[in-house]
């Protein structure tokens, strides 16, 4: 989500929210179920049969089109490939090549650090802004409902639309961004934002933040609304300032929402694909300044446009590393989340 998340559902989405983006790993059990006695049914044959009828289609679909490809991707990384033909088993050979044979390590680390930069920048630019906006909206200013609807609006737009729209706006000759800077008397700042290796990645992160900002805002807002009013009232009666109330009561109780946003932003940032693909091309132009793991993986798996180079072994090795990274962080995140939850 929220960041590359290209959410989410995305497979994650937004940054995130993409499909993965979209998801919440918050709790493995919906809270409503806690403490509710599970219905006990005697499992006579008839009921067993019904159980199969209810579950089999979903299990079959999920196993075939989700589990099987994911597990196979792991296996693929252990073979040598020619085009889409699988050759002999080579153990960790693809990983060794990825880390030690030119030009793979250079591409790998270049892309990896860009993902890290995307994550950090998104946390600072997008999520801190979102937290600020949520705190303002939580005070219920005039028009709060309308603001909520407006802020979330870009999250519903396709990343392809967002990418092209901002691509047109950022055109160095005709785009409105440089024109607006000139109008504001800041013409000297105008530059080819996407063409300059120094600004391209940051520009993409900002466009991405434009699309996703509403999502963390609403998650934080929901978190703030979940803080019991009694606590806030009691603190105010005791003479606490608004800032003290925010810092001492709201922030600690907001920890679960923060953890969710950090995890979703991480998943989104390391899954980033659509926006750089649409705005910078599959090679991560200019000069690989916007290359990220998602693009690198795609090029290896399906072939580079200019060179035609395709290496499914290397591609699968990248996929395995990304799986490991995402699964590791999601798991640690889920545990952290539970530990940091304050009972109230």
């Amino acid at each position: 989500m929220p960041s590359g998340g290209s959410p989410p559902r995305t497979l994650a989405h937004p940054a995130g929210a993409g499909r993965a983006g979209r998801a919440g790993l918050a709790r493995l059990r919906p809270p409503a179920a806690l403490g509710q006695p599970r219905l006990r049914l005697s499992l006579r044959t008839g009921r067993r049969l019904w159980l199969v009828v209810f579950l089999a289609p979903a299990v079959l679909l999920f196993a075939t089109f989700i589990t099987y490809p994911i597990v196979s991707a792991l296996a693929y990384s252990l073979f040598r490939w020619e085009g889409i033909g699988r050759r002999e088993f080579i153990g960790l050979g693809n990983f060794v090549r990825l880390f030690a044979t030119f030009p793979y390590p250079r591409l790998l680390w270049n892309a990896f650090w860009h993902n890290v930069a995307v994550f950090v920048l998104t946390m600072v630019v997008q999520n801190l802004t979102a937290l600020g906006l949520a705190l303002l909206l939580a005070r219920n200013p005039r028009g709060a409902r309308a603001y909520r609807v407006v802020f979330f609006l870009p999250v519903t737009l396709s990343l392809v639309i967002v990418g092209f729209l901002w691509g047109l706006f950022l055109n160095p000759i005709f785009g409105v961004v440089n024109k607006a800077l000139a109008l504001a008397g800041l013409g000297h700042l105008a530059r080819p934002w996407l063409g300059d290796p120094a600004t391209a990645l940051v520009t993409l992160v900002l466009v991405n933040a434009w699309r996703w900002l509403g999502f963390p805002t609403l998650v934080f807002l929901a978190g703030i609304h979940a803080v019991p009013d009694d606590y806030l009232e009691a603190a105010r009666i005791d003479g606490a300032s608004e800032w003290d109330v925010t810092r001492r009561i709201v922030f600690p109780l907001l920890a679960p929402a923060v953890t969710i946003i950090v995890i979703l932003t991480f998943i989104g940032s390391f899954n980033w694909f659509e926006l750089p693909y649409v705005m910078a091309g599959v090679a991560g132009a200019p000069n690989r300044a916007t290359d990220v793991l998602g693009l690198f993986f795609y090029r290896m798996a399906f072939g580079e446009v200019d060179t035609g180079l395709q290496d499914i072994g290397i591609g699968s090795a990248i996929a395995v590393l990304m799986f490991a990274l995402l699964a590791g962080v999601s798991t640690v995140g889920a545990v952290l989340l539970r530990r940091r939850e304050v009972e109230y």
């Binding site: 499909r19 075939t64 490809p69 991707a73 639309i161």
Partner: protein, 275 residues
């Protein structure tokens, strides 16, 4: 008192500034769609002198947006229908039946929330090729339906668990079959959850670009986001047509969102927020 109203003014200023930041690019997009390319360059920020509709007509007919749109509708409707039906059945079984392996199966489905299927796209590509589904809408439908199941099962199992056991018991005593209990009694009671699941999945599926990029080659079977990339290649200097295309592609989702914004917001944050 004046301190408080001064503060309120600052809050409003920040919120308005952000609203402008969100809305201005979209307003420029829509206004540009009605201008000529020449007018876009000369007067990028103003209202169009004449509201021209021919840009839209070109996009819909010449650039085949009509066909792309139809493919997107088919893919989105069918995959959401499949995932809601199968998700509800599985959610019902997991939420209301105690059996060995219930928890394990629930966690199995939930694991799909954490791992992006797109990393398994090479095996998926080869699987689709072997099944003869490459370059068909079925390839998309099956992947979207399957990858929507974890969130659907997560949300629906939770809702089914909260329903009182008496309802079911009474129906069973009256001799209703399991299927009747499910469709006539339980399903109507979780209608709000079905709405959330539908919305939560429909938007990302409608907007997805990655899987069509990999699975679909024929122009006639491209979805809207994918078709747009073709269209952008063809018309890359014709700004008026480009903005008309973007506007046309954005309108359905934005309109739906504005109509159902409360449901949307609840649906899209459902996975992330407690309760």
């Amino acid at each position: 008192m004046s301190g408080r109203s001064g503060w309120a003014l600052v809050v409003q200023a920040v919120l308005v500034a952000n609203a402008v930041l969100v809305l201005a690019p979209m307003a420029i997009m829509v206004m540009s769609a009605f201008k000529s390319t020449r007018e876009i360059f000369q007067n990028p920020f103003g209202l169009p002198a004449v509201w021209r509709l021919e840009n839209f007509q070109r996009v819909w007919v010449e650039a085949r947006f009509g066909a792309y749109f139809q493919n997107s509708v088919v893919v989105t409707v069918v995959s959401v229908a499949v995932l809601v039906v199968l998700g509800a059945m599985a959610g019902y079984a997991l939420g209301r039946f105690a059996f060995r392996g219930n928890d394990a199966l629930y966690l199995y489905f939930l694991s799909g929330l954490m791992l992006p299927v797109r990393l398994g796209v090479v095996p998926l590509f080869i699987l689709m090729r072997n099944l003869g589904l490459l370059d068909t809408l079925w390839a998309l439908i099956l992947v979207y339906a399957a990858s929507g199941l974890p969130s659907a099962i997560f949300i629906l199992t939770g809702f089914f668990r909260t329903l009182p056991a008496d309802l079911e018991g009474a129906a069973r005593i009256d001799g209703a079959s399991e299927w009747t209990i499910f469709t006539r009694i339980m399903l109507p009671l979780v209608r709000p959850a079905l709405v959330i699941v539908t919305i939560y999945n429909a938007i990302p599926i409608w907007n997805d670009f990655f899987f069509p990029l990999v699975f679909i080659q024929s122009d006639a079977r491209k979805t809207l986001p994918q078709g747009m990339t073709v269209f952008f290649g063809q018309y890359y200097t014709d700004y008026a047509t480009l903005f008309a295309g973007l506007t046309l592609a954005a309108v359905p989702v934005v309109a739906l969102y504005v109509l159902l914004s409360q449901h949307f917001i609840r649906g899209l944050t459902a996975g992330a927020v407690k309760g």
